[in-house]
Subunit: 349 residues, 4 copies
């Protein structure tokens, strides 16, 4: 921790800081400059945080040097980046995982058709929302538990493990009964009660980045989950809010290498929601793999013009085929293998 | 609703749109331009939304003209802007209401001291958090129900009705038992389950703007509350996230007149959290009243350097006195009266 | 200057930094922490900047503590905030100055009518653009020197000194012949050649904040002007670019107290361009004065619906009268006097 | 053009608009809705722009449908995307062009060493700045014409055509004498006088996106150049300003497919300036090619720790070799060929 004093800080004020740090068991190194004094703090940073040093007289600024997240940090896992298994499907540094499915579960037929499209294109996990957080209370809010049952049926049919969103702490147990992986959406990235509930339930978690969140806040949100006992977390960049209006959000591909530098967790990209436009999904997916993403998450729909949610961004069969071929070639170039579908869920036929 | 077709849209595609709109009971007016065709839609907009027109062939863009919120819109209350009563204290167009208190409830003594400071400075409502949504899982998370009991005791002592935050749907009933007004914080503005639970419980709600939210999204969030039966909503601008780093967030004072133009709900400003700096609270509070805000919400602490949360922005006694005098003079200039404290909660002494 | 080393920096790397700093005549204080080492640098910061320390092995981050601007800093003028005189009209901490006029000079009649409106409403300086930087090459680009002559004639008629924009270094001398104050617009805030040319010509400069610029960059831009010999600089906040779309830009009123804390230069607010809406000009002007601005700069037009530029935000006579009364009352409350018009330019009549 | 009337617009106001449009030679189609009326305008849009319709009574909003840029639009060149030749090196849809060199020209030796590094790694154009727009007036501002002479000498030595920045209109002729392509930097993207001067001089122009500019504004800036007779424009995305602080700017890779959809101009990516970190250059370069960029522009330096400008982001020899191999493989995958260096500039040896 580094404390910068104001230009007019007195000797007494400097000494008061030093005394306070030492009485908390730390050490303080004072550098007296021409115009300002800087104090370097050594010791228990969490303890220093409670001293409220920024409010002391003579203090201009307190900067924390070490990261506030621990369990999800790269340092916490010196053996390297993690691989998270979801219903037998690996997501991590050696594979390229395609998660695909409809934005919202609308009916058994639509979900099955989308899942078959997804599987045929090489997807090894099925995504689909039964609970939809919508900006407008008048928009379709999802089928709820009925949607979860549809997903489970489609899993039995296609063999694809299921990734689905949970939006409230009290739904976590119920969703976890059906799902192979819980998704926490962009609007809930700082719903701390939800993060904690998801961290306790024993299923892997896909944590989307808040569209307004810094990378540090995102990793802190992951730390909330990790703290409750779950380290099977996959991060997912899905675009941040900027002034640019030609895309719904601005996909921050730089976040992938930045996160991989700071954390051991796998990180994916969702090119469907960031752009909000079908024609951007293929180029952004390619960019995702090329920048080092551990996979991509895309919306597909058998009939986008009838989708109840985000139809304009859903891929159709021909798009998917192109995506699939393109990603496979890129994965090879990046030294990854496309992750294979597990067979455990397939009904004997 | 206005549909802009792509430059190469065919006659068939245009007619397909018209047919679809008419089969949904609407009317479609076609304007054929040199390079593009525009179709104006008249009829049930919510119905048109479900047609997924943006996904149809030949469609470049669909723009909704009318607002998606209804109950909170200015049109919904032709008689003018609303006044919300909180434990007998009015917040609305005729008054200037000061809400003050500690960011977090830490102890009975600290809360009482802060409340007395607040009341002496003209505050008529007491704010204080028992549940604190914190970016870090290692930071102080609030005293929970114990904190609520402290707030209730301090209310009995000082007569000030209590505004306090709720962070999870399953806490709403419990918090509502103690509080006079529920606060929904910036990180929960789009926690739709929480908004609905708060809207059902029968207490006024203070809805802070998401630091990443547009004004339209904010009004849509209020609509979620309104839809469950509660129109006693007060909006509170608290700064939005921008590239500027000299303040924690950028206070968007323009939001006040913009909201008052669109909605009948009262709107306040929180100058403590937006700036994150004590020296900005007074100037930003003055700007708030001058721009037409129905009140301000400030952090106070008897001893900021010992605060467990947001100490650097809390006002002390002398600051408060200056704030109080300044706001009173401004309120008069703006044709408002400072809102008087109710006496209902005072214990007979 | 503070250097934070990477967690795995070696002793040799630390010592290399110390040696380099000392060989440049500075002192280096090393604080060895549990996970990281911090080095505090004392001495000639500009010299340290050229050492390129951020590129040295083992260095994680280099943070400069002292500001990069000097001449415009508060420390440079210990006697307090500056007052800048423009054609005899003061702009500074004791006055409230209203600058008004048409966005663009279109004709002698329109400019004179706007100037008379402005003067009658209490404006003491006339603004008006003869060179207009426009996003589209197909939009009206201003009358050029003809516009400057019109402004000079209107000054002779009304007595109001003239503030007008300059957009290219080679126009500075010519514009300075006509103008009492040169305005540098938001898109040119980092047009460094223009800043230097304006700083040399001997006229006061109104420097608008770049819509994308931090406060630090804004002060650095002012430093470019100051370095060429001109300290008669007035800063003008005019809104920054954010994700919010209901206003053209987001007026950052917090910038006023922040700048006044860092710099001795006067600072004003332009509420017309930030909002882009006539109905926001009055509330934002009030907020400007209440937050401590040294004045406001507004667009007026005798006939906004015929304006060639930014008509939707121009005030008309009745708006101006209300603005004028409101600002005068607020100025008194803030301990300022409205700045009086000088008589020097009035033709004997 | 579409005009949305306010809910309370009168029949007279609607008819006045229609009359005005018709008197300007246009047609107006009126769609009367339940709550609002919409008027679609057909005819000369530039003419309509001058009518100032947004200021007329009863008008809520005026939306322009067709783009404001023409010469640079996709529609203007129906035969497909353009290829720009720079000293014999093509930049366009069939090739992948690597432009590399030092951020600033510091000395003949440093520039030659960097150019040799660049050429050996497959770069076919040399970049290097002789005029540097710097945030601080105390930072290194470039060698000026001396730097240009060094670039010309290095071109003669290596055969690499030269791309170099110009920062002021009056320098354009001089820079054009030495350079094969003029670069206009992010801070000058809306320096309209500079754009016009560059458009007149007869050399290709590399136009970087303003860090605060929308894609539409960027294309409008290109239109300024095109309007003066130059269509040999290459666009270059280099990151936009957002709230994220772990990278200097946020690279907007989506801009590449968006621009290619709207304009026929080639578009490249600069991964060095957006990230500001050497470790991000390789992954972001790969993302650039995978998203469809026509090339990349990177900083290299023989000795980054001694660079006078942006050392922390410059690549060294080993980085460049990896970059070069990686980009070549990606280019093949994307159906492009690496662009070959021309031989015209090589001195007979």
């Amino acid at each position: 921790m580094v404390i910068v004093m104001t230009p007019d800080a007195t000797e007494d004020e400097i000494e008061a800081i030093v005394a306070q740090v030492e009485s908390a068991g730390g050490e303080a190194f004072v550098s007296r400059g021409v115009s300002r004094t800087i104090i370097g703090l050594i010791g228990d940073v969490e303890g220093f945080e409670t001293l409220n040093l920024a409010s002391r007289p003579g203090v201009a600024k307190v900067t924390r040097i070490s990261a506030k997240y621990k369990l999800v940090s790269r340092e916490h896992r010196p053996e390297g980046r993690s691989t998270v298994e979801v219903g037998g499907v690996p997501i991590g540094p050696d594979t390229m995982t395609l998660i695909a499915g409809p934005c919202a579960v609308e009916s058994p037929e639509q979900t099955l058709a989308a899942a078959v499209m997804a599987r045929d294109a090489g997807a090894t996990l099925l995504r689909g929302g039964a609970f939809k957080p919508r900006t407008s209370p008048y928009a379709f809010q999802g089928l709820g538990e009925l949607g979860l049952r549809i997903l489970a049926d489609v899993r039995a049919e296609t063999g694809l493990p299921v990734v689905t969103e949970v939006v409230a702490p009290h739904d976590v147990d119920m969703v976890a009964e059906y799902a192979d992986m819980l998704q926490i959406g962009t609007r809930n990235m700082q719903n701390f009660g939800l993060l904690q509930a998801a961290g306790r339930v024993g299923k892997p978690v896909l944590l989307k980045r808040g569209m307004n969140s810094t990378i540090e806040e995102w990793l802190m949100a992951a730390e909330y989950i990790a703290q409750r006992g779950c380290l099977d977390i996959v991060l997912c960049e899905r675009g941040i809010r900027t002034f640019e209006t030609s895309t719904r959000n601005t996909l921050d591909v730089s976040a992938v290498p930045v996160v991989q530098h700071l954390s051991h967790l796998p990180v994916m990209i969702d090119p469907s929601h960031s752009g909000g436009r079908r024609d951007l999904v293929l180029p952004l997916s390619r960019a995702a793999i090329a920048v080092g993403s551990d996979g991509v998450l895309v919306d597909v729909h058998p009939c986008p013009e009838e989708a109840l949610c985000d139809g304009p961004q859903a891929l159709m069969t021909e798009d998917l085929r192109e995506l699939s071929g393109s990603l496979e070639a890129l994965a090879v170039l990046m030294g990854r293998r496309p992750s294979a579908a597990p067979r455990r869920y397939l009904r004997a036929s």
